[in-house]
Symmetry: C2
Subunit: 669 residues, 2 copies
């Protein structure tokens, strides 16, 4: 049997060799954390390399994602489908070993990490998911959900605000099965952290009601074992294990920031391996070390045992078992088409003008009842955004029950935790705040899009329509910023019908969706039955004219009604006008050319795009001959109706601009 250090050293040598071969990467952290990884992954980490998707596996998040090679080495050594060829292909196009861990690219990677702090925040979401599923599905004598969530994080992670936000919540929630190993090496990229990170981290986490263990020597296996045992024994509080380590351990750059982000170089690698007592040969792992790491047999046994337990559970609780399996697969319930019809009916039942934030809440009344996988919440704006509904049950840490999370004023943590909930499986998270504050959560939304996680962001107060709260609360550039984010659907519905369709699309999507909702009331528009299917295509003709249109209005959300009214004015002047509602530009762009041409015929160049936000995005559809009516400056504090007038967004003013466009075009012909 090799020693534990020898096992850890296999992580070290694979990491520095792969980084050297790639001529790019971060050797310091894998060298420093290898002993922590050995202590965790070879002693009690529950997983089956043959089935990385086994639902009751322990979850692991590498919050300091730049240490990716450490994790790839572990996955390779324990027997995941990650052959040495892939390790040698580190950071190359199409390899399974990208520069930072990417969910979906590598078996065994739970979360895409890299932006510091977000990993630990998402780990809070993973642990919350476990606690909720356990309380929902476990029965006396039948435990089918029982796993830990582990995270490694570094100093940088704990500097980032999102780590504070999320860890404060984890402590408040008492997530006892969350265990964070903090790689306290006192070095960040700019050097020794003393001048910028002097806080007492242990005291801070105690203030958040965590169990704080250590500081321990992160290279002392015995201390690591003891710490992990204490952490696993504590079920009422999350645990932080402070591990003092040496970045760049055993290399000539040990304890230096220089070891962080560049290959060591051949000479230093030779020295490091000599110091570790390893053979100076690239990618060499002794056979007995491979054997010691191989977790396949143990993993299969663990999953088999779980499978037996689940089979027994199925016999006693067949319906619960089926529901659990459905939720973990991420399938919708069989009656989903019926639910979809119900939400459409509910959202269009009222006759009075209604804010789309309220219509979204009406939709949620049905959805939350019929989709138990939904878990909602808000960053302290529950009733303003309309996220909390009649059958929302606030999360209760004592019983670990509930389907609604009060995140407090923490937009970024809300996003990262939603990502953890979605990534765990079994949940379909939604969360709400004002559109202006999407800024704070933006990078979590970006990661959700990158990972293709199904979740819904409800962004209300979506324009100057916010009114008196003024420019800090009035989004301008946010709508376009979200639209430009890849793999994200941004819906801005104009009424109840579009709100219901937007929600339907978001539930069915395999990616995150944003619903951008008005604070102010909007009229329910008329939609012939045939239009319902068209709305799902992202843009459609909501009002047409006899014959060929001279001019096309394009609008979204609260501005669709303005466009319709402006069109009426033009019709009175004997113009032929089409109005296009485009609730989701991304979905429209995915339609076939025939549909896109049918909505926006290429030869009709006179187009007026209208949206109460930054205009530049809309030139894509308004074209060279067209006009975009938007808002180029920040907003102002005043009643919303006054602001719409001030910024030229009234039916009359829009019609005037359109008439100018028409007469200029005629003059130009």
């Amino acid at each position: 049997m090799p020693t534990r250090r020898e096992c850890a050293n296999a992580i070290r040598t694979l990491s520095i060799d792969a980084i050297e071969q790639a001529r790019s990467g971060h050797p310091g952290a894998p060298l420093g954390m290898a002993d922590m990884a050995e202590a965790l992954w070879r002693h009690g980490f529950k997983h089956n390399p043959a089935d990385p998707m086994w639902v009751d596996r322990d979850r692991f998040v590498l919050s300091n994602g730049h240490a990716s090679m450490l994790l790839y080495a572990v996955l390779h050594l324990t027997g995941y489908d990650l052959p040495l060829k892939e390790v040698k292909n580190f950071r190359q196009l199409g390899s399974a070993t990208p520069g930072h861990p990417e969910r979906g690219q590598t078996p065994g990677i739970e979360m895409s990490t890299g932006p510091l702090g977000q990993g630990i925040a998402s780990a809070v979401g993973l642990a919350l998911a476990e606690a909720l599923l356990a309380s929902r599905f476990n029965k006396p004598g039948h435990i089918i959900v029982d796993h830990h969530t582990y995270a490694f994080c570094g100093d940088g992670c704990l500097m980032e605000g999102v780590s504070h936000e999320a860890c404060s919540l984890a402590g408040t929630w008492g997530l006892g099965k969350l265990i964070v190993l903090y790689d306290a090496n006192s070095i960040s990229i700019d050097g020794n952290i003393e001048p910028w990170f002097s806080e007492d981290v242990g005291k801070r986490f105690q203030a958040y009601h965590w169990q704080v263990i250590g500081p321990i020597d992160g290279h002392d296996f015995h201390a690591l074992d003891e710490a992990l045992q204490s952490a696993r024994e504590e079920r009422a509080k999350p645990s932080l294990i402070i591990c003092k380590t040496h970045i760049g351990y055993a290399s000539p750059k040990e304890d230096q920031a220089a070891s962080h982000g560049a290959p060591l170089g051949a000479e230093a690698i030779t020295q490091t391996k000599a110091s570790l007592g390893c053979k100076d040969e690239p990618f060499a792992v002794p056979e007995n070390v491979y054997l010691a790491w191989d977790s396949r047999k143990e993993g299969k046994a663990a999953q088999d045992a779980w499978q037996s337990a689940f089979s027994a559970y199925q016999k006693v609780y067949p319906e619960l078992a089926e529901e659990f399996a459905r939720r973990m697969r991420g399938d919708l319930p069989k009656n989903w088409p019926e639910i979809a019809r119900k939400i459409l009916k509910a959202a269009t039942a009222g006759q009075k003008a209604t804010a789309t934030r309220v219509l979204s809440r009406i939709v949620l009344e049905t959805l939350v009842k019929d989709l138990p996988e939904m878990i909602g919440g808000s960053a302290d704006l529950s009733s303003s955004v309309g996220t909390q509904v009649a059958c929302s049950v606030p999360f209760d840490p004592a019983s670990c029950t509930g389907n609604y999370i009060f995140y407090g004023v923490r937009e970024f943590a809300m996003g990262a935790i939603m990502n953890g909930l979605a990534a765990h499986g079994g949940f379909f998270p939604y969360g709400g705040t004002f559109l202006a504050f999407s800024d704070q959560a933006k990078n979590a939304i970006r990661l959700a899009a990158m990972m293709g996680l199904r979740e819904v962001w409800l962004f209300s107060h979506d324009s100057i329509g916010v009114g008196e709260d003024g420019p800090t609360h009035q989004p301008i550039e946010q709508l376009a910023s979200l639209r430009l984010t890849p793999n994200l659907n941004v819906w801005r519905p104009c009424d109840g019908t579009e709100t219901a369709i937007a929600w339907q699309s978001a539930v069915e999507a395999h990616k995150p969706s944003c619903l951008v909702l008005s604070r102010q009331n909007l009229p329910q528009l008329e939609h012939p039955a045939s239009q319902i299917a068209d709305i799902r295509k992202g843009a459609y003709v909501i009002k047409d004219c006899p014959g060929e249109p001279e001019l096309i209005f394009i609008a979204t959300g609260s501005e669709v009604d303005l466009a319709l009214k402006a069109a009426e004015i033009l019709v009175l002047r004997n113009h032929r006008v089409r109005v296009v509602s485009m609730p989701c530009a991304e979905v429209f762009a995915e339609q076939d050319a025939a549909w896109r041409e049918s909505v926006l015929p290429g030869h009709i160049g006179l187009r007026v795009a209208i949206e109460a936000g930054a205009p530049d995005y809309w030139y894509k559809y308004a074209g060279s001959k067209g006009l975009v009516l938007g808002i180029k400056s920040f907003g102002l504090s005043a009643p919303g109706v006054r602001l719409y007038d001030y910024f030229g967004l009234t039916a009359e003013k829009i019609a005037d601009k359109a008439l100018d466009l028409l007469s200029n075009a005629q003059a130009g012909q």
Copy 2:
């Protein structure tokens, strides 16, 4: 003399009356914090209502900005140029009393606040500015900089991650003249905070090395006085005074979230005033209360005393005095044109291909030496971004000297602190991180733009050119998102010349600027002397053809060289091609129509815009007949050169697309 409670009650009644009149606003916090405001503003707060810009005034930030009416009431009562008419005009178009405090709209408002947590973070910047100026300019027997920075904040502010980031730094820096009064009313919008904010705030701030005072009764004037005195006496640590208060004090909605964000209503106002012992008449303030609040005489005396001290200082240290005055006015030194020439020369001296992040560093070597008001820093990426230069002196908390801040991995706090430094006066801050992480700082950049603060963001690693670090580190939507933010200049230079001009523009601007910089090397391009002035116009013809162009390439940054090479290929095929470099679209949009037409003639519709980022922004310039070559998905982990090829951004592939466009256009004619 009225009692102190009577003085505080004037804030309360003005606030609830103004909110009622506006039919919009947040009465709960002004009712709750009025006693704190009395204790601070009537007892030792150094200011002169007649001169809100007096340089040695105490600074005050209302981090919970929704309590704006409290601050307007204080400014009105103490004698600022904010007459009752403006108070009555609360939240109306064009009033000096917008819904949230806005710097520049109201005398006495230091910072725009509203997004929670950012105010306290900016207060850290204000306090840092004071400490730095004091150590730089004060002389024995001649103290010309000596003021406090105070902030009010609420529970919500302390939930937000940015408050953690900034307060950790403030403790590390030992900013003894920063005093935060925490309005601990235990209520946020969603109700009693216990389920989402249970952390031990005092312990947390002790972990950050703050002096923590309290909890005290925030309605007990004696306790407030004592706490403020202790805070003022502590010069080695910032102080947090935890004030237990009652939101909605004395109203029927006291201690209820319902008092937070909606007018009380006429009946409740009557009850509240009865409970306070105030007359039930709108906007009534007893004359003796006005007299008790009036700070004009005391304020004038304070400023006169300071003016005498400054006059004495001027006599002994005339050059220092002039320098201090120049910096506080925000003027550039007289030799600025010469400095500007120097940076252009330095940035274009090299012949080898160089990354623009390195060229920016070369510019900084000169700028930091010649502009003592510059204060740089980075969120732990000093050498990667190139923010730290030879004459950068790391900030030393013991002596309060230095011109370089290690912010740690805290992009958002960096932004908010830069805003505080810029708002204080005397400083021109710059800060750096990777463009992908601009997300984390976005809302602070937005507030800088809203306030028109002069500061520079250096965003390096600006595209897939980042390479192996992969999609989490490769910006896609960030460039356009920043461009769409109002009042923000976004420069993406292509070489040394453009980098120097971008810096020059940023120094001269009265707003924030972003410099978006490459990680990878870029060739120095040829610029005839006449082009230098053109670059300053944001876009210009970098390469033209004889006769009228058939096609125009538009590119920025690293893609300009690609466009030039693609153009060469087209020229070999006998096409007439123009290449436009557009380093700053915002500045170009501000030019007169003649310039814009001369660069991009309206009748030349065949245009190809090239940028290694989200394409949609560029339809504005590519037009209906044009083409945009960008990146619609997230990036990948691989060497940057491979990625440029993979995403079709090579000279050959661009030329092919352009040739297709040309032949299609010919076929279509």
